[in-house]
Symmetry: C2
Subunit: 351 residues, 2 copies
């Protein structure tokens, strides 16, 4: 066997949620996308994108400045990437660069251990408590960095800023990354803590609340020092990550705050109503402040519901993993979609 | 000083060519962009891009299939990324994964040593000969992989397929990457060698010949085994790298072969005429089969020309590096742009 095979990096890649081919009447509640279209500014802006033949601005300044202004930060405090996965991958490479293990929960975004393995970063997964809450004391040992989502995924559980601050206070020597992919559905961002903690990095995305999973924009916010370190690594990897449409559209949609509030408000309303309906059907769950609900049923197995739903053209997410293999993660769609799901479940659990 | 700083990865990033703010009458011959706009299919396609709220197909199948069909390959032989820099960064991470040094020329694309440093890959740079040619015998020692551009950058020098095959024959145990960013301007692609060499990876880009530096598309072609290894690493880094516009537009422009041939043909004609004019002015250069010329002048210093040109709103590229610090890399623009440059130089060297 040719020796070149020995040089190939072996990895177990992350498995993204299934993206079924577009089918009429398919209800897609499996990848936490937004059921509503993005701001109409996208269509307007698409007609104006120019400069195709030229390299985009490597600093994506137009987008970075729009985000900085939106969040009340300086432009040297914002880093942009090709979705928050790109931003988090760069952050792992940049900041989790010691021999000490990094810490994250046992039940959390399933990309964290994939990145740690890819970059050969040692890690320890700290178990959530029986109510799927992060235990602050678990994060008070020596470590090479800390990351968790808030709200957590796939649980939807939100931890208060006091909790985040407790972790930060205990870890002045580690970089703490709060992955806020779902923060716009009712939680409070850790951004105000940036003023006090220079080791805090807050990551957000356009994929959920801004209905723009298809454009691939994520961003990190932190001290100018951390953002410069991220940019140095990015410029050592790929100078021009953001293409012309993503820079133009990413900046333009931030102007449409009314639309953003309307859409996130609708999803929160649907979620709160859906929680009540699910309780009536015998489902239980920890309270969610995200655009999904992580549920288990008192008698019917999650996997059976998952498979039957799929056979009925309703996609939800099921993880065959320890502790959560009797749970389903259900994205909050439109009222209509959730009613269809509820009707299906009502029939199915009676059988 | 807080200990978190010790955990930050220190790198010396790649410096991209200057992207000046758009100014009227500026002549930009510094980043090897195409002077002509992309196929009109781009504008058409932009109006049809949909699915913003959804994650793109993580496999970018529409684009991958279009490229496979265009190049006469199977779809499992094509890997796509966010420009060829993204593809090459992934390839370094995937394939240059031994303790043996990888090999590349001393004068070449200046990102190679940046990636090697980022991923802590040992490397040895083999000097080009006095005519800026790669010396095949230098690549017949034990190594952890080989990469070079063909035509080489910033020299523009093209090596024949016989030369590529000599390297491949000597290295059955190493993965050999041929970076063909500039292959469409007169060289012959190494693609036909894929049938014989399962350790060959050929990388191309939309940024030069297809006038789409702004969309960020690069791609690698090789055996299904190598492409799977690349995809495994990509899925461990970022599942969804290609956004909806890049998938749609990248596939559509391949249909416009007439336009592609017209544009690349015009650039080749301009280049050949420009070579003659430059010789008349006392410049010398190795023959270029790329969309740039790498020149030195018999009496006037390259750096002086570079700075004076910039003051006259003409941007070319100057590298303050050993062996090439008296050379300029001049992108081939339109006839009009090259005439303006020639007129400027004619005046300047008289002074």
């Amino acid at each position: 066997m040719a020796g070149f095979r020995d040089n190939i990096r072996k990895v177990v890649p992350y498995t993204p949620g299934e993206q079924p081919k577009r089918v009429d009447n398919l209800i897609k509640l499996n990848t936490n996308e937004n059921p509503y279209p993005p701001s109409p500014k996208v269509e307007e802006m698409m007609k104006q994108v120019t400069g195709w033949r030229l390299y985009p601005d490597p600093a994506a300044s137009k987008l970075v400045e729009a985000l900085a202004s939106y969040h009340g930060l300086n432009k040297d405090q914002v880093f942009v990437g090709v979705g928050s996965d790109d931003v988090l991958a760069m952050a792992f490479m940049t900041f989790f660069n010691s021999d000490k293990p990094i810490l994250f929960p046992d039940i959390t975004y399933s990309f964290y251990d994939v990145w740690a393995d890819l970059f050969r970063i040692p890690y320890v997964q700290k178990p959530l408590d029986e109510n799927f809450r992060i235990v602050a004391d678990d994060y008070k040992c020596e470590n090479g960095g800390i990351i968790f989502p808030n709200p957590n995924a796939p649980t939807g559980v939100y931890q208060s800023l006091d909790f985040i601050e407790e972790i930060l206070q205990a870890n002045p020597d580690a970089i703490v990354i709060i992955d806020e992919a779902y923060i716009d559905f009712g939680g409070q961002s850790a951004l105000p803590l940036l003023e006090k903690y220079e080791n805090l990095l807050v990551v957000q995305t356009y994929s959920k609340s801004r209905s723009l999973a298809g454009i691939r924009i994520g961003y990190a916010m932190g001290s100018a020092e951390l953002i410069k370190a991220l940019n140095d690594v990015k410029y050592s990897f790929n100078s021009y990550t953001m293409n012309q449409p993503s820079i133009a559209i990413g900046a333009a949609v931030l102007e449409d705050e009314d639309y953003f509030k309307e859409v996130t408000g609708k999803i929160v309303s649907t979620r709160e109503w859906f929680k009540e309906e699910m309780k009536k059907l015998g489902f239980s769950f920890e309270d969610s402040k995200s655009n999904f609900l992580f549920v288990t049923h008192e008698t019917v197995k999650a996997k059976d519901i998952f498979e039957a739903a799929k056979a009925n053209q309703i996609y939800v997410r099921y993880f065959a993993k320890p502790r959560i293999d009797n749970y389903l993660r259900i994205t909050i769609g439109t009222d209509e979609e959730m009613k269809t799901f509820l009707n299906f479940v009502k029939e199915f659990i009676k059988m």
